[in-house]
């Protein structure tokens, strides 16, 4: 589904991505793991076309994304820090996004998260008055709203309270069973244990490995993902 081939990106002197190649196929739930500043978010932004790679290319459903922007209608993206126009209310933001994406065939809107997060009672609130957690809830609802085939979630549970992150995890599991491709970055490894099927580990812009979860557990001899990753990090 998403193939990245030898993607490199520099920000000034910083080598954010160094010859990264990944293959992401359908009905997998892939965790992007790595220390801070290892290039996870840059890779995600490259896939979304928000950052233009210096070299290498990315294809989505066999189409190069640099020539074709329509592929983004198959993606739901939840950013790490959701930034929204300050003087719009939650309701206006949702309505605007629906209005902008409406002409796509996907008429079926998935408003489950809006309801379960209780956002329908906050529709009149302006974006600038929202707390970080509520902002995350809006981002999550927007990502799932259009029933996309691919979900890209950048630190989805950071800033969410335990109840909300549980709701979000349930939702992710549900979408995974529908056969969608899900990409998650997170630092809370214990959370990923029951979600993910594959692990991509990145460090300093390099992709160190891309393995199935079972393989990783077997090769390190650990039961828990957090221990397995700690094991890997110590070996390096």
């Amino acid at each position: 589904m998403i193939f990245a081939t030898n993607v490199s990106k520099r920000f000034g002197k910083l080598n954010a991505l160094n010859n990264v190649s990944v293959n992401c196929v359908k009905s997998e739930c892939i965790a992007l793991i790595g220390p801070n500043g290892s290039g996870k978010t840059t890779l995600i932004k490259c896939i979304l076309g928000m950052v233009v790679p210096d070299s290498g290319f990315i294809t989505f459903n066999e189409k190069n994304i640099s020539h074709d922007w329509t592929y983004r209608k198959h993606i739901g993206y939840m950013p790490q820090i959701g930034r929204y126009p300050d003087n719009m209310t939650i309701g206006q933001v949702l309505k605007m996004m629906i209005d902008i994406r409406k002409d796509n065939q996907q008429t079926q809107l998935d408003e489950e998260l809006i309801q379960s997060f209780g956002l329908d009672g906050l529709m009149q609130k302006r974006m600038c008055t929202l707390s970080g957690g509520t902002r995350q809830k809006v981002s999550a609802s927007l990502a799932f709203l259009f029933n996309p085939d691919v979900l890209i979630l950048d630190e989805p549970t950071a800033g969410l309270d335990p109840v909300a992150s549980e709701i979000l995890k349930e939702k992710i599991l549900k979408e995974k069973q529908k056969g969608k491709l899900i990409l998650i970055t997170s630092h809370i490894l214990s959370e990923l244990d029951d979600l993910v099927t594959q692990i991509i580990y990145m460090q300093d812009g390099h992709l160190l490995f891309h393995k199935k979860l079972e393989d990783l557990k077997q090769s390190t001899g650990e039961e828990k993902l957090s221990k397995a990753i700690a094991n890997v990090m110590l070996k390096k």
């Binding site: 920000f11 932004k45 979304l48 076309g49 928000m50 950052v51 233009v52 922007w69 329509t70 592929y71 983004r72 209608k73 993606i75 993206y77 950013p79 930034r83 929204y84 126009p85 300050d86 003087n87 605007m96 996004m97 209005d99 902008i100 994406r101 796509n104």
Partner: protein, 255 residues
């Protein structure tokens, strides 16, 4: 594309600064026209305001607006929208609302008090200048990520077009006063939209006699239908080139 433009215009029209700008232009125009019984004298006073205030407000407001809507742009870029279209819509929204503000604030008084070819030219030039300086602002805003730097660049550009350029032209004139400079002056005037607007308005006012021999050349050139069309074409170039350059740059920008 229309949808994004609609959201941008709705957002700007709610902005109090644009409202204040409209009211300010409205008050100035009515004062100027009521001070003098002669509408042409009123137009002459209004000329300086149009040539100084309109570009300044357009360029500064548009630059600040582009920086302030970075969240909005970021939100749109991750959606299935073409980057070029996002940028052009933003430009269309800004240019549309600032032209509307100018039309309501200064255009309507002109139409009421000075409905003549001079008045119409002034109306047209004001609209052109609003749009041109929004286009230049978009270019200034896309060049740098830093808001303070971006606003600085646009103020410098305004200063260049409204003051420094004239100084440079004068300098050239004095340095090369032994040579016939009338034809090159025609070319030079095309390098500054504000000057071009001023010349076109002054020529209609028949005060071009005050500009001496160069004025006669200007009259010879811009007074004809072809010259006037060329001047309008140059104005259009002043809109399209900055928008095209900034759109090209925006398409490659990392957000």
């Amino acid at each position: 594309m229309k949808k994004i433009t609609k959201y941008v215009i709705a957002d700007i029209l709610r902005n109090k600064i644009v409202l204040a700008y409209t009211v300010f232009l409205w008050i100035i125009s009515f004062t100027v026209f009521n001070l003098e019984n002669n509408a042409t004298k009123g137009l002459l006073s209004l000329l300086n305001i149009v040539l100084i205030i309109v570009p300044l407000v357009s360029i500064v407001f548009a630059t600040i607006y582009v920086y302030n809507s970075s969240e909005f742009i970021e939100l749109l870029v991750s959606q299935p929208l073409q980057r070029k279209k996002i940028w052009i819509s933003l430009f269309a929204g800004l240019a549309g609302s600032l032209s509307l503000a100018y039309f309501v604030g200064a255009g309507i008084p002109i139409l009421i008090y000075a409905l003549s070819s001079t008045g119409l030219i002034m109306l047209l030039m004001g609209l052109f200048l609003s749009i041109i300086f929004v286009a230049i602002a978009m270019l200034a805003a896309v060049i740098t990520r830093d808001k303070a730097k971006g606003i600085g660049i646009s103020i410098l550009l305004w200063l260049y077009f409204s003051l420094l350029f004239d100084g440079l032209v004068l300098f050239i004139l004095f340095q090369f006063q032994d040579y016939p400079l009338e034809k090159p002056m025609l070319l030079l005037s095309g390098l500054n939209p504000i000057d071009l607007g001023r010349i076109l308005i002054l020529l209609k006012m028949d005060v071009s006699a005050l500009m001496g021999y160069t004025g006669a050349i200007f009259k010879d050139f811009f007074g004809t239908g072809i010259g006037f069309s060329i001047a309008l074409l140059v104005m259009l170039v002043w809109i399209f080139v900055p928008v095209w350059l900034s759109a090209r740059r925006f398409c490659r920008k990392d957000l």
